[in-house]
């Protein structure tokens, strides 16, 4: 190793000195620089996948009823805690807990809509928005009461040991099975979602309702049922993201939904709110920007960096990366 890469090391030192890129970093050779970048990219993509899963919930609800459901971040948090309670208190196997959590979160999303948003369907949009913030605070405090404020983590033995071993190792870069699991779940569920929206009847109904509620109702679509379905799907995805993040970072706590919710909302806006592929792209871009920002610029300002990316996109492309500017609805 030492002799073979001597020339590379010299080159790296030269780059290091010229660019001042890695100030404060004594990176020894070019291999290190590139594997650092690759590893950060892997971390960023994993984080981005999770943001995308949450962002989908925001964007679908927005697409259908033009409501920014601020309580969505709390559903993500509840997902993490519900799975935690099932594996610790009830001692259920992880994959059973995983599926029941998706179900509970879906039902919960429907109840949330029924209790908090449906009575306000015809009220000004601001009223529903404020209710959403209220629900968010309520759920956060409920979780504080139920589970306490300290950071909890899933017991180590709920997943097979394999998950914590590297799936792929290239030099210093490693991709763990857990990361592979998170990414593949994200991709699989995104594909399922895409199929639901574009290939099924209920998906068609969702698209119709998002275009025009009144006309859809006149065409015989049960608008409220479609909205409930949207909440169910979005909440299940949010709850799933909560479990995955809880596993990945080993930390679940009642306020975890707030920051994640704001970030995922930013991802949805970045991609173009209302657009499902936009949410996926936005999540990916935000995750990578955040990790690279923390890795190369300043870790103290990582959230600032990710929001700056969002602001820049909004300035230059107000409709988001994929979204279209819709004409005023009459």
């Amino acid at each position: 190793m030492a002799g073979r890469h001597a020339h590379l090391r010299g080159l790296a030192r030269a780059i290091h000195e010229i660019s001042g890129l890695s100030r404060g970093l004594s990176v020894e050779n070019l291999l290190d620089i590139s594997s650092l970048f690759l590893q950060q990219l892997v971390n960023g993509i994993t984080l981005g996948g999770v943001y995308a899963l949450i962002a989908v919930g925001y964007t679908m609800v927005y697409g259908v009823i033009q409501l920014i459901n601020f309580a969505h971040g709390e559903i993500y948090m509840l997902g993490a805690f519900l799975a935690y309670t099932q594996v610790t208190l009830l001692r259920l196997p992880f994959f059973v807990a995983f599926l029941t959590t998706l179900l509970i979160c879906a039902v919960f999303g429907v109840i949330l809509d029924y209790v908090a948003y449906r009575p306000l369907r015809t009220a000004p949009r601001l009223a529903a928005l404020i209710t959403a913030i209220g629900m968010s605070i309520f759920l956060q405090n409920l979780a504080l009461l139920l589970w306490g404020s300290q950071i909890k983590s899933y017991p180590r033995d709920i997943l097979p040991r394999l998950f914590f071993k590297p799936a792929l190792t290239m030099g210093e870069v490693s991709l763990s099975w857990l990361q592979v699991f998170i990414l593949s779940i994200t991709v699989i569920f995104m594909l399922i979602l895409h199929l639901i929206i574009h290939k099924t009847k209920v998906g068609m109904a969702m698209r119709a309702v998002s275009q025009d509620k009144v006309t859809s109702a006149l065409m015989g679509i049960g608008v409220n049922r479609v909205i409930s379905f949207t909440f169910a799907i979005g909440s299940a995805m949010g709850g799933m993201a909560g479990i995955l993040v809880g596993l990945y970072y080993n930390a679940i706590f009642p306020t975890m939904g707030y920051i994640a919710g704001v970030k995922a909302f930013a991802a949805a806006v970045l991609g173009g709110i209302g657009s499902v592929p936009g949410a996926m792209l936005g999540g990916g871009v935000l995750g990578i920007a955040e990790v690279l920002g923390a890795g190369y610029l300043s870790s103290a300002y990582r959230d600032g960096i990710s929001y700056a990316v969002m602001i820049l996109v909004i300035i230059f492309k107000p409709s988001g990366l994929i979204g279209q500017i819709l004409g005023e609805k009459v």
């Binding site: 004594s26 650092l36 080993n250 923390a294 870790s299």
Partner: protein
């Protein structure tokens, strides 16, 4: 309206009378929130001291009543609590706060109200010189940081260290004190990375550290983040030693198998404490079923000092300040369970530091200690 006023007045009288035969000593610290487990030691230590004082007849014939004030280690909450205490005429001395950032937020309010306060745990360097009304029975971070650097150099022989700090007064002050001494000793600081208290993803920074190939990572932060850092470092295959300061001295760390081998500085170790602590350790164990940690020991002493002051000069803020400031030499020192405390002109004190480490999932005193 007038009726309501009467009711309020009468209620005020009743409660006033109820207070009159007890002396209120507020203890401000996080008791809920992320750092609730620090607060547990504070609460237990204060309660134990108060019950011992009361069993021995109280202070000037009155019982001592500990009032817990929860500020979540949040500077904004700390300022609110401080304002409340400053405006309460029944409060003549405060024991608190715990986090340096909270103390720095509360400090100007106590100074304005001329209300003396004794912090059992805030170690940031700047605190003492900012107010004549602030005292502390714990060492400062310039001492702690240099002590840790000395230990790392002389006992562990680490040469390359990466620092992972939290953006707060405690962590940043400690980091700069450590760096100053470490660089003087020829230790290379490979890099410093930051996080905030709501961070849960430490992987980008740890990935950077991994490429630097350090001998060890120094985390001058608090336990809730420290345990996540240990786990995420392990998951990235970053197998290097980690060490910290008294902010990592918490049972949260021992529950984490990835934190095995972690060592930290601490102001108090049960098996290294002098004979004066034997009775305290024994009764603490009897009441709470475990060994006291340093938060418990220092709070026990701080409440003791507050009670002594009231006993000597009565319920008067100014006189208590003068009394505490007068404890300024070794022969006047308050002899507590965590050593002797006497203040310099800033209200700071010199205390011993110890090293403890996690071995087989338990905190143990390190074999080698610095004198």
């Amino acid at each position: 309206m007038r009726k309501l006023l009467c009711v309020v007045l009468v209620l005020g009288l009743i409660t006033g009378v109820a207070w009159a035969d007890s002396i209120k000593i507020p203890v401000a610290s996080p008791f809920t929130g992320q750092l609730a487990s620090f607060g547990e030691g504070v609460k237990n230590g204060a309660a134990l001291k108060a019950s011992e004082i009361n069993a021995a007849g109280g202070v000037n014939g009155k019982t001592v009543k500990i009032v817990l004030e929860d500020e979540l280690c949040d500077p904004k909450e700390a300022a609110t609590v401080a304002t409340k205490l400053a405006n309460d005429p029944a409060v003549v001395v405060v024991v608190g706060h715990l986090c340096s950032s909270a103390t720095l937020a509360a400090l100007p309010i106590y100074r304005e109200a001329k209300l003396p306060a004794i912090s059992p745990a805030s170690t940031n360097v700047d605190i003492g010189k900012m107010s004549p009304y602030y005292f502390r029975n714990v060492y400062r971070d310039d001492f702690q940081g240099a002590f840790l650097a000395r230990y790392v150099d002389e006992v562990k022989g680490f040469k390359r260290i990466a620092i992972f700090y939290e953006v707060n007064d405690y962590s940043m002050g400690l980091m700069s004190a450590f760096m100053k001494e470490a660089i003087k000793r020829g230790i290379t600081i490979l890099g410093t990375e930051a996080y905030t208290s709501d961070t849960t993803d430490f992987k980008p920074q740890l990935t950077k550290f991994k490429m630097m190939r350090p001998d060890a990572i120094f985390n001058p932060g608090y336990a809730p983040q420290g345990t996540l850092i240990a786990t995420q470092a392990a998951s990235l295959g970053l197998k290097v030693s980690m060490f910290g300061a008294d902010g990592l001295d918490d049972d949260l760390m021992v529950k984490n198998p990835d934190a095995e081998g972690l060592f930290v500085t601490t102001p108090f170790l049960p098996d290294k404490a002098g004979p004066q602590a034997a009775k305290f350790i024994e009764s603490y164990k009897r009441v709470y079923g475990k060994d006291p940690n340093w938060f418990a020991a220092n709070t026990y002493d701080a409440v003791g000092m507050a009670a002594e002051a009231i006993k000597a000069v009565g319920m008067d803020r100014e006189k208590i300040q003068a009394y505490l400031a007068g404890i300024n030499s070794l022969d006047k020192a308050y002899v507590g369970v965590a050593g002797k405390t006497y203040f310099d002109e800033n209200g700071d004190c010199l205390k011993a530091a110890f090293i403890k480490e996690i071995k087989n999932g338990k905190w143990v005193s390190s074999q080698q200690q610095l004198q």
